[in-house]
């Protein structure tokens, strides 16, 4: 059962990481315009044009 002492912190760390990333996506308004974000990848990035 001692393996639990490793695995539980591990799973909590990974879950916490996902939570932090989720909070970051909310903070940076990434759910604001899902359709626009999906379409913008089709646009040329102005910085790439030589």
């Amino acid at each position: 059962m001692n393996i639990l002492l490793v695995l539980i912190p591990c799973s909590l760390f990974l879950g916490g990481l996902a939570l932090v990333l989720f909070i970051w996506t909310i903070r940076s308004d990434q759910y604001d315009d899902p359709d626009g974000a999906a379409n913008r990848i089709l646009l040329d990035d102005p910085n790439d044009q030589g």
Binding site: M1, L4, I8, S11, L12, G15, G16, A18, L19, F22, I23, I26, S28, D29, Y31, D32, D33, P34, D35, G36, N39, R40, L42, L43, D44, P46, Q49
Partner: protein
């Protein structure tokens, strides 16, 4: 290179400049762009806007079909940008005001995310307990669960605590009271059991309760937000700016800036924005929005015009005699608002279910506690069983049952082009059995009849002339002649009070209104063609009436127009019950009389004279071009083809059926679960399984709405 994601979009060079981030923090204007739909649209709109010297940055939001613009300081007039976008082929309107960014959606999403994260982790730890962990291991699991669950519920369940507290202070029992009670009691008793080394802890139940209920709240909020933004999209269609004559110049001003005595300039086809008197010699106006009367009426210098009139022969100059809240239109709007509050509130299915459910839950839990106390006399065990009952009976699926269906149905309707403006509208639309139509503007439109024997050459000239004008009749002509190549014309001029003239290879051509206003005359050199003005039914109207009858609806026509015309249109569409020459207050009486017969009336109308009737009916729909006041009075607005009303009703019926099914499903789970819980057989595992399966079942059932 350039990317053409959709064939419908002409794409120039692709120097799209995208500002990082989304909404510019200093956005001063919001433009509504109903026509954008792809990557090329985003690129073009942003390129056009960012190229303008007045604009510092512009960012398109495709999901909401809007653009946020940060202008240079001191810029107050976006009409130049709207014209620039029109040149690029995009329709744009100025949104009424820049609303403060609404953070409640992302705020709730954060609560939901945290509840979800905590629920998954605690559930994982609980699996160990369910599969047989005992003694020290079980206690370790419970302690870790407690460390995750207690802070997570304290944060994530705050929306419920706040609402419950507000309800209790007002002396009411809202749905949030048993929810808060269940969450707090579950956490409290679990903590106690953990400290004492007991058998059962309910941490994962408290968290999944929070998570599923927050999911329901989130769906509900998203629907309300889309309803609100639909309403603001509609008000953006109303002209916010008018041309005021200042000295010799025409200056575009916001409508709020117009004062008594100002002289305004109106193009043909424009709606009169304020009550006014005519300055020019004469004009013909369409007052059908106010009276239902479809014949144009003539006005001469000094006579009055009413806000809501459409100028047919323009451009004209008018002088404002009543502005702002004093206009006829505003007075009518206030009357409608009063009627609306008098209608009384429709109590929705969710409210009815909650009003039965909330007291029942409390009562069952309390009786359980008292019963166990009487039999065993053990407070700890009695409390455990009572909490288990409260958790099991808590309206978990019920919280999702209705929002999930509403979200699915309004989303589908939005894609069809129907904006649902009120959150109980779906349920009311579903109960409709009688449909009353307004005639003018809703089922019929004024149109010029192109004679069948007109030569192709003349048709081309006509199309060329129609292209140059924004008059409603020209728009109709453009639709009739859409296969005709327009002739090349130059020197186009819209003549005040008459029509439009131009030169074709040096030969004068014109389309002028005949003196009596009942026809228009196309002149090409010396040749004349007469185009009669008639009232035509709009495309899709006949099929709509047939479909409504097929659905068992009782269809009738209610109009302010003369009897002979009303009966002719009624015959054409197959409507036998016709009320004609009914004034605005008469329309309300007709609708009220129908309701007094026990019918559920749907009113469909666009005019000012319909507004009160729209409010008086059980449910109401207005077409997209309707007056502001009618759109505000209606529950739903149909943009595009009127024939869609049948689809709207069908979808509403299907949505209501799903809601009832969902209520039955969640009640069914309780019928099984309550006796088990009351008798003390409920375990945390059983609660977790029942809660998840019932929530998933109602969500899947909601997706069947179509």
């Amino acid at each position: 290179m350039s990317v053409t994601a959709c064939p419908g979009c002409a794409l120039g060079d692709s120097e799209a400049i995208s500002a990082p981030g989304n909404r510019p923090a200093d956005a001063t204007f919001e433009l509504v762009l109903p026509g954008i739909h792809c990557a090329a649209c985003i690129a073009t709109v942003e390129r056009v806007l960012n190229a303008l010297p007045e604009i510092r940055s512009a960012r398109v939001n495709l999901t909401r079909k809007r653009a946020w613009v940060a202008a240079e300081p001191g810029i107050t007039d976006p009409s130049g940008w709207i014209e620039a976008l029109a040149d690029a082929g995009y329709e744009a309107h100025e949104a009424s005001s820049v609303p403060a960014p609404d953070s409640s959606g992302s705020d709730l999403a954060l609560h939901l995310g945290i509840a979800g994260f905590a629920m998954m982790n605690v559930m994982l730890l609980s699996v160990a307990v369910w599969s047989g962990a005992a003694d020290a291991t079980r206690n370790l699991m419970y302690w870790i669960s407690a460390m995750i669950a207690l802070p997570a519920t304290a944060f994530a369940a705050q929306p419920f605590f706040r609402n419950a507290w507000a309800a209790l202070r007002a002396g009411r029992l809202a749905m949030d009271v048993p929810i808060s009670l269940a969450i707090i009691l579950a956490c409290g008793i679990s903590l106690y059991e953990t400290i004492e080394g007991g058998d059962h802890a309910w941490f994962e139940a408290a968290l999944s309760l929070t998570f599923f209920l927050l999911a329901g709240r989130y769906l509900d909020l998203r629907m309300r937000q889309s309803v609100r933004s639909a309403a603001s999209d509609l008000s953006a269609l109303e002209p916010r700016r008018v041309h005021r004559i200042e000295g010799d110049a025409r200056v575009s001003r916001p409508i709020e800036d117009i004062r008594l005595g100002d002289t305004l300039w109106l193009a043909a086809g424009a709606r009169v924005p304020v009550d006014a008197v005519l300055v020019d010699d004469q004009v013909r106006v369409d007052r059908s929005a106010l009276t239902g009367e479809s014949d144009p009426i003539a006005r001469i210098a000094g006579q009055d015009l009413v806000a809501g009139d459409v100028v047919l022969t323009g451009p004209v100059r008018i002088r404002a005699t009543a502005v702002g809240e004093d206009t006829t239109l505003r007075r009518m709007t206030r009357l409608v608002a009063i009627a609306e509050t008098a209608r009384g509130r429709y109590s929705s299915l969710a409210e009815k279910a909650a009003s039965i459910y909330t007291p029942a839950i409390h009562l069952i839990a309390l009786v359980t506690f008292i019963g166990w106390m009487a039999v065993t006399g053990d407070i700890r065990q009695s409390l455990n069983v009572a909490v288990a009952t409260l958790i099991i009976t808590c309206p978990c699926a019920l919280g999702l049952a209705i929002p999930a269906v509403s979200a699915a149905a309004t989303g589908r309707l939005y894609r069809l082009g129907c904006l649902v403006k009120s959150d109980t509208a779906l349920e009311r639309l579903a109960q409709v059995d009688t449909v009353v139509f307004d005639k003018t503007g809703t089922l019929t439109r004024q149109e010029l009849v192109v004679p069948g024997d007109m030569p192709t050459d003349a048709r081309q000239v006509l199309r060329g002339l129609a292209n140059a004008s924004d008059h409603p009749l020209s728009r109709g002509l453009r639709a009739t002649l859409r296969d005709v190549t327009p002739a090349a014309l130059n020197g186009l001029a819209e003549l005040p009070g008459k029509g439009i003239g131009a030169l074709r290879n040096g030969q004068p051509v014109s389309l002028f209104a005949a003196d009596d206003g009942r026809a228009s005359i196309l002149s090409i050199g010396e040749t004349r063609y007469v185009l009669d003005r008639t009232e035509r039914t709009v495309p899709g109207a006949t099929q709509l009436i047939t479909r409504l009858r097929g659905m068992g609806m009782d269809v009738s026509l209610l109009t302010g127009d003369a009897e002979d015309r009303a009966i002719r249109i009624g015959d054409e569409l197959g409507i036998s019950r016709v009320w004609a020459s009914v004034p605005a207050d008469g329309k309300v009486q007709v609708v009220k009389a129908l309701r007094a017969e026990g019918r559920n009336v749907l009113m469909v109308g666009d005019g000012l004279n319909d507004a009160a009737a729209l409010t008086a009916a059980n449910a109401s729909i207005a077409p997209g071009h309707a007056l502001d006041i009618s759109r505000n009075a209606a529950d739903a607005v149909v943009t595009g083809d009127i024939g869609m009303i049948a689809d709207v009703l069908r979808l509403a019926t299907s949505a209501r059926r799903r809601m009832l099914e969902n209520l039955l499903i969640s009640a069914g789970y309780n019928v099984v679960a309550i006796p088990l819980a009351v008798l003390g057989f409920a375990s945390p595992l059983m609660a977790a399984v029942a809660m998840s399966t019932s929530s998933i079942t109602v969500t899947l059932n909601a997706l069947r709405t179509r």
